[in-house]
């Protein structure tokens, strides 16, 4: 049977997390295979070419483009400083002098005898890549980056804003149904990753940013609050680059959404532990979901390996699922039946369905496309 359902988000108290840290351009890897690294350790670095500045020297000197080279005082690959003479031209027996000075410090990269343009590239910008998660370097890709692996607890969110951050987990709501309001954010929240309940308000987000909170993990957020927080609408779900100070991860969806019990309880059990989080979300093309990673010590991991059973890939009677669309959005249940034949649902669409027994024992029929497996 083909699998016509959405693979679920991972909520795992034990798994092996591998993170490939890749440089944007080839560079230098600073760690060796087998080495243990801390989350903030620099593992690779490179130089990104600096900004390029172009000026039409031929026009500025009043010469033909093909003659540009003849007037250049700095040649290709030669360094130049701001204000230094790049090119000059003397005419009328030295009476008239046209000078073109460099507007930036850098290296002459190109002199075009077709257009008369000269390009000066600023100095390279160093880029350093940290490990993001603590763990062992299991693979080195020379010049490109490394893969780091660690046993960890992992919670994948459904949507996030803001990039990588690191901090101690702090639970700030008593239950998974509560709203994370500004009153719940105190000075002790500085540098922490806060875990809330069903909704975070704009006021809370603003206060969190002011208080130096590293991240917020919450069930849901209203669309209008996202706009207020970001200062713009979300067009396409490609996030992670926002410069907002506090990384936000929502675990369930938009609107008021109680955090699933599994997620809340797992994070609660890890309160006080250090976590690496990333809000980067890219739903299309190489799906990327926001994540909370809490690295585990080896002995913790060993104990959990025996306790946790990995679930197999497919959906079968008994599989725990979350319904991800109205009219039962957010509810959790177990698959009770998987009818083979297509069924007509209220919208009159004929679809493959699944029967789900909800936590309150009600049995409901929903399209298979509208459930996701919960991977504990």
């Amino acid at each position: 049977m083909a699998q016509a359902y959405t693979p679920g988000l991972k909520v795992k108290k034990f798994t092996i997390v591998s993170k490939t840290r890749r440089l944007p351009l080839p560079g230098e890897v600073l760690v060796r295979e087998g080495e243990n690294v801390a989350h903030d350790q620099i593992v690779a670095r490179t130089q990104i070419p600096g900004e390029i500045h172009m000026m039409n020297v031929a026009n500025l000197l009043g010469v033909e483009p093909e003659d540009t080279n003849a007037y250049m005082q700095k040649k290709v690959n030669e360094p130049v400083k701001t204000g230094e003479i790049l090119a000059n031209r003397t005419s009328f027996f030295g009476l008239l002098k046209s000078i073109v000075r460099a507007s930036v410090t850098g290296t002459v990269e190109m002199v075009s005898n077709v257009t008369g343009q000269v390009a000066v590239r600023e100095q390279n910008v160093p880029v350093e890549l940290n490990a993001y998660i603590p763990g062992k370097v299991v693979q080195v890709m020379p010049g490109e980056g490394v893969t780091i692996r660690t046993p960890a607890a992992l919670v994948q969110g459904i949507f996030g804003i803001g990039g990588e951050a690191h901090g101690e987990l702090k639970i700030v709501t008593d239950s998974r149904d509560e709203t994370l309001t500004s009153e719940k954010i105190e000075t002790s929240c500085n540098d922490k990753i806060l875990v809330g309940g069903a909704l975070v308000t704009t006021d809370a987000l603003t206060k969190a940013t002011q208080m130096g909170v590293r991240g917020i993990v919450v069930g849901g957020i209203e669309h209008e609050d996202v706009i207020k927080f970001l200062g713009s609408e979300i067009g396409v779900a490609i996030t992670g680059q926002e410069d907002i100070g506090t990384t936000l991860i929502i675990t369930e969806g938009f609107g008021r959404m109680s955090m699933s019990a599994g997620t809340f309880n797992l994070l609660k059990s890890l309160s006080g532990r250090r976590a690496s989080i990333n809000g980067a979300t890219q739903i299309r093309a190489g799906v990327l979901r926001p994540e909370v990673i809490i690295a585990l010590e080896d002995d913790e991991a060993r104990a959990l390996t025996e306790e946790v059973d990995e679930i197999s890939g497919g959906m079968a009677p008994g599989t725990q699922v979350r319904i991800i669309r109205d009219p039962y959005f957010g509810t959790i249940g177990h698959v009770s039946n998987l009818p083979v034949e297509l069924q007509t649902v209220e919208s009159e669409s004929k679809v493959r369905v699944v029967e789900v027994e909800l936590e309150d024992k009600r049995r409901v029929i929903v399209p298979r496309a509208n459930v996701e497996i919960i991977e504990y």
């Binding site: 049977m1 083909a2 699998q3 016509a4 359902y5 959405t6 693979p7 890749r22 351009l25 080839p26 070419p49 900004e51 390029i52 500045h53 172009m54 990269e109 190109m110 075009s112 077709v114 257009t115 343009q117 390009a119 490109e144 459904i158 949507f159 209203e222 669309h223 209008e224 996202v226 609408e233 979300i234 067009g235 396409v236 779900a237 969806g253 938009f254 609107g255 979300t281 739903i283 299309r284 093309a285 190489g286 799906v287 990327l288 991800i324 669309r325 109205d326 009219p327 959005f329 649902v345 209220e346 919208s347 009159e348 669409s349 004929k350 679809v351 399209p367 496309a369 509208n370 996701e372």
Partner: protein, 614 residues
């Protein structure tokens, strides 16, 4: 090896951004027909990152439904084995992983840059940005933009043959300075197609040849009066296969499963819309409303234009429709008492869980509201490119001075569009065909007499790519199984200031003569089945035009369809009341006129209107 004429079983897939669709075609009693279909979520993304998983899942559904064995360990079985396993040919289209994303550049924005944009779109690409010398951005801004774009490919045009060299080389130098990187994969050369002034080839080669996979083809605009997109399009397709597809997750495997080049989905769709235009010798507007993009195609007086509106779609891009259209424009199509904030939350939830489908009727109506806006915006984008060549010197006689549309306006006149056809998951899977008809009417606002059609189960891309190996089979299946005639829409152009009859009609068909009036602001449906045609006399009110001038009669022949003959007298442009109660009342009437939704929808609108009145 069998010749195409001997093919009996053909399998095609479309690896869409959201769903992978498999379609099996079979030769039965000498006729090529659609046999079976299967669908599964596309698996370009993590955790799978291998499109062949989705293809296998979709094809497995076909296997289950037909009892045939089509796949083996190595993929699709072809040619067929002695035991009858497998198919005679396997072909596929793809738009997964973002399709083909291109940046184009030219010298003048409205001339060579626009020609380059049309050529890239014509090849089925998504155009991320158009760079030109006069685009209003400073050089450093352009460099920064090129640097951050990460396209799959770049197309450079510029200069007529023998024209400017300097500006073309300047564009090449900008690109060289920005040193853009390819979107997929690290350490392979970004493909660049150069289709500009022949005299600039050597300096362009010198500027870009070393660091990029540069392909030089004939000028896209050899003369101002001539646009020559074919060589650039062919080069784009070639490089798409060679450089782009081979780096997308799982495509290396998929490419080995077929010896027919993988085609971008919009290219496949476009082929079938042009086929329709050529077959019927008519002007056609077609639309493919997808999860990530809205593709619009027009064949008008022999001119073909394709646009791919990136980020206007019904799943991944649904929030961009919300952003571009605004919530108010989406809400105007929803007849229920729902808070706008709830609707926008729902759309965001659709975006983050793109493969879900509407279970309730309310959710369906909300999706249809967004679809209308995606179609409207996609068509607006299309019209910006479906226009004459700018820069051409024209000799104007007095008549043309008064008559000629400005060269910057679209040449598409809705009054002269004979066929309006739709494809894509939402349109093809709409529970009632009347819903598709209404969506096309609301999104495009056809004028005069226009036939409406849609893709039955979404197979236009499949037939498009199949037509490259077996055009006869593709055409037969297109006519018999793919194209569903929805009916004919009669829509007078203009509006009436006062209420009254917009149109009087006299319909003469097999079952007799039917006469009637249609009030302004309303829709009326006359059942007329797919195989019927009828003579009709249309008499519009004095301010309205059905193609012969305001208030003038028109005698013509209309074709029926699964929906029927639709008189759409809501005004052109379409008039939607701003007042809440009147708007809902109108939507109720329009939905009811076409029996577009179940009775429960109408009851809810009526009861909410009563509640509000009290």
């Amino acid at each position: 090896m069998k010749t195409p004429e001997e093919f009996e079983l053909m399998l095609a897939t479309d690896v869409g951004s959201t769903t992978t669709k498999a379609r099996l075609f079979k030769k039965k009693d000498g006729e090529y027909r659609f046999e079976s279909s299967g669908e599964a979520p596309t698996t370009v993304e993590a955790p799978f990152e291998d499109v062949t998983r989705g293809v296998r899942n979709a094809v497995r559904e076909v296997e289950e439904l037909t009892g045939l064995r089509l796949m083996g360990k190595e993929g699709i079985i072809w040619p067929r084995t002695g035991e009858g396993d497998g198919v005679d040919v396997y072909v596929t289209t793809s738009s997964a992983g973002g399709g083909l994303q291109m940046m184009v550049a030219g010298v003048v924005k409205t001339m060579t840059a626009e020609s380059a944009e049309r050529a890239a779109l014509g090849a089925g690409a998504i155009v991320m940005d158009v760079i030109s010398i006069d685009d209003g951005r400073k050089q450093h801004e352009k460099i920064e933009r090129i640097r951050t774009l990460r396209p799959d490919m770049i197309l450079i045009a510029g200069g007529t043959d023998g024209g400017t060299i300097t500006h073309v080389v300047e564009t090449a130098e900008l690109i060289a300075a920005a040193a853009p990187k390819a979107r997929l994969g690290i350490g392979y050369n970004l493909p660049i197609v150069y289709a500009g002034n022949v005299n600039a080839r050597i300096p362009v080669q010198k500027t870009l040849g070393e660091k990029y996979a540069l392909k030089i083809v004939d000028n896209i605009r050899p003369l101002l009066e001539v646009e020559n997109p074919e060589p650039a399009r062919n080069a784009i397709h070639e490089l798409f296969m060679e450089h782009v597809m081979s780096h997308a997750p799982g495509y290396d495997k998929l490419m080995k499963w077929t010896d027919v080049p993988i085609m971008p989905t919009p290219a496949g769709e476009g082929r079938m819309f042009t086929t329709l235009a050529e077959l019927k010798k008519v002007n056609v507007i077609g639309v493919g409303l997808g999860g990530a993009t809205t593709n619009v195609y027009s064949t008008y007086d022999g001119r073909f234009v394709r646009t791919v509106s990136a980020n206007l779609g019904m799943s991944y891009s649904v929030c961009n429709v919300l952003k571009e259209a605004t919530i108010d424009n989406i809400m105007r199509w929803i007849p229920f008492d729902i808070k706008p904030s709830l609707v926008s939350n729902r759309l965001l939830n659709k975006m983050i869980r793109p493969t879900t489908i509407p279970q309730t009727i309310e959710e369906l109506v909300v999706e249809h509201a967004v679809a209308r806006e995606a179609l409207r915006l996609g068509f607006t984008h299309h019209k910006q490119l479906a226009r004459g060549l700018v820069g051409v010197q024209r000799t104007m006689d007095i008549g043309r001075i008064f008559d000629q549309k400005s060269e910057v306006e679209t040449y598409l006149d809705m009054m002269h569009i004979d066929f309006l056809a739709g494809t894509g998951g939402l349109l093809s899977h709409a529970p009632r065909r009347a819903q598709s008809a209404l969506l096309l009417m609301d999104g495009f606002q056809p004028e005069g007499v226009t036939k409406l059609a849609q893709d039955s189960v979404f197979m236009m891309p499949h037939l498009g790519v199949l037509s490259t190996v077996h055009p006869k089979a593709a055409l037969e299946i297109f006519e018999k199984d793919c194209l569903i005639r929805l009916g004919t829409c009669v829509a007078p152009r203009g509006i009436m200031e006062k209420n009254g009859n917009a149109l009087n009609f006299k319909l003469d068909h097999q079952e007799g003569v039917v006469e009637g009036d249609v009030p302004f602001g309303s829709i009326k449906l006359i059942p007329l089945n797919s195989k019927s045609t009828a003579k009709i006399t249309l008499s519009p009110a004095k301010d309205l035009d059905v193609g012969t001038g305001p208030g003038h009669h028109l005698e013509t022949t209309v074709e029926g369809g699964v929906v029927g003959l639709i008189f759409d007298c809501r005004g052109r442009p379409l008039q939607i009341p701003e007042d809440q109660a009147s708007r809902r009342e109108k939507l109720l009437n329009w939905f009811q006129a076409l029996n577009a939704y179940p009775e429960a929808v109408y009851e809810r609108i009526r009861s909410e209107n009563v509640k509000e009145a009290n």
